[in-house]
């Protein structure tokens, strides 16, 4: 296990980058998902079509292929940003499509009567959505959104193939220097569990606090 303890600072740095990457991308993915989901339930047909296109494209492209297209392709059209920024962009756009679907299926679980009651007392579309439907929908999406954060944290490992030094690339780089690969693997696994297990626990806690039986 010396291989791990000699390289604790490298693991710490890798864990930090993975966390930073996941959290920034998650916040952006939530924003994107929110906008796309509202497009998808909007009465305006072209917005619905745009939302659907977004979801179909980014849900079906392999993340690795999206990374390659962005990191190798976009500089050719004049987009030169850092590798970390590319990773944030790709991960948040990709996850945003899944967030949008989670939110939309949450909206669909709210009973029709809720929106009808809201309209019958004269609330506008916006008021119906933001005051009545979404607060109820959010409760049913806690679990899927939590799972998406965990999936995002795991997916962020793909950034290691595109010049971001996070946990997985730390493991990859250290195995070049050290002969004891198995301890390094164990160390990396522990680092990922440090992210995913608490995330799962937090999700379960929030869910217990806000969920209610229908």
């Amino acid at each position: 296990m010396d291989a791990v303890f000699d390289n604790l600072d490298a693991f710490g740095a890798g864990l930090g980058v993975t966390l930073k990457l996941s959290m920034i991308s998650f916040v952006l993915a939530m924003l994107i998902g929110f906008v796309i989901a509202s497009f998808r339930v909007s009465p305006v047909a072209p917005l619905r079509a745009a939302g659907l296109t977004y979801v179909e494209v980014f849900r079906n492209i392999p993340l690795t292929a999206f990374f390659a297209l962005a990191v190798f392709g976009l500089p050719k059209v004049g987009l030169n940003i850092s590798f970390f920024a590319f990773a944030v962009m790709v991960l948040s756009m990709y996850t945003g499509a899944f967030v949008s679907e989670a939110l939309r299926s949450g909206i669909n679980t709210v009973a029709t009567g809720q929106a009808e009651a809201a309209r019958s007392i004269g609330l506008t579309f916006g008021q119906t959505l933001f005051l009545v439907v979404l607060p109820q929908a959010l409760r049913t999406v806690v679990q899927p959104i939590g799972s998406l954060f965990i999936a995002l944290a795991k997916n962020s490992s793909i950034a290691s193939l595109f010049a971001v030094i996070e946990l997985t690339s730390t493991f990859d780089l250290l195995t070049d220097q050290e002969s004891a690969t198995l301890p390094l693997l164990l160390g990396t696994i522990v680092c990922y569990l440090i992210i995913t297990l608490p995330a799962g626990a937090v999700t379960a806690y929030v869910e217990r606090r806000v969920a209610f039986k229908r």
Binding site: N60, V77, S147, L182, Y192
Partner: protein, 288 residues
């Protein structure tokens, strides 16, 4: 229509607002497309030879072989993951702690790790211990471990979703645990799980592109090779690859949805699929 929940039939004023909104949306969408096109034009990406390269028969054949490598990896990993997942699920559902505890630990561990890490670990760790295998094997190993754990959870959810009365009834007519599982529970559960299993297989197909990381010559890796000889078509090649993956995956998803619809028509509510599609990795099942 699902969206109709949020609004009634629109009146004249509402329709006018929607028309205005639509006009603004069209202008916005057109502006985005135009801006992208202008940027591409400015960087010379519309030059015809950059695009005609894509029609090169050698390139097409080279990339087609790459896509075939994805299909091959997906097919092999799928079979192995289904078998591995079935064993894990049965283990986790078993009443013997000696089976249940290790199966649960394996499922929870592999589900919590990135597939890429598992693939890299196979490619890096196995050779150090004397297992020199082709990259295909490392890719399959990584995919199978992860997807098997995810599929195990789908199987378990499918089995647990069955009404308890089914197994109680079969015990009461004297069937053993094994007979109950084999003759009563699993046949019904499989029907419910099928759409979720297929959408997980779509995910698996996407994930075969992780073979890129260890030099497995799948579509994306071959695309990267191709950009060496067709440097001026770099952007176009990556776009083409993205489009190929998207088209194949949408076709697979449509098939899953069609199957789900057919199932519901055939078996009614009892055949209704578990509502776990649409969310990646389906870690939503524990509430059952």
């Amino acid at each position: 229509m699902t969206t109709a929940v949020l609004y009634d039939q629109l009146g004249p004023r509402g329709r006018r607002r929607v028309r205005i909104g639509s006009a603004i949306a069209y202008v916005g969408i057109a502006a985005v497309i135009l801006a992208a096109a202008l940027q591409l034009e400015e960087k010379g990406q519309f030059q015809s030879r950059r695009w005609t390269n894509l029609a090169d028969p050698d390139l097409a054949e080279f990339l087609a072989k790459g896509l075939w490598a994805n299909v091959k990896a997906a097919a092999v990993a799928m079979v192995l993951a289904l078998v591995f997942g079935a064993f894990l699920a049965l283990g986790r559902l078993s009443r013997t702690p000696a089976l249940r505890i290790p199966a649960t630990a394996v499922i929870e561990l592999f589900r919590a790790l990135p597939q890429l890490l598992l693939i890299l670990a196979a490619a890096i760790v196995l050779p150090r211990y004397g297992f020199e295998l082709p990259v295909f094997a490392y890719l399959i190993a990584g995919l199978t471990l992860y997807q098997g754990a995810v599929l195990a959870e789908i199987f378990r959810a499918g089995i647990l979703s069955l009404d308890r009365g089914q197994s109680e009834a079969s015990y009461s007519v004297g069937l053993s645990y094994g007979q109950t599982m084999r003759l009563v529970v699993i046949p019904q559960a499989v029907r419910r799980m099928l759409p979720s299993i297929i959408s997980q297989l779509v995910t698996l197909f996407k994930d075969t592109s992780l073979g890129f990381a260890i030099g497995y010559e799948e579509l994306l890796r071959r695309g990267k090779f191709a950009t060496v000889s067709f440097g001026e078509s770099l952007l176009q090649i990556y776009l083409l690859i993205a489009v190929i993956f998207i088209v194949v995956n949408i076709a697979l998803s449509r098939f899953a949805r069609w199957l789900e619809g057919r199932q519901q028509r055939k078996y009614g509510a009892a055949g209704a699929a578990l509502a776990v599609t649409g969310v990646e990795d389906l870690a939503v099942l524990d509430s059952k």
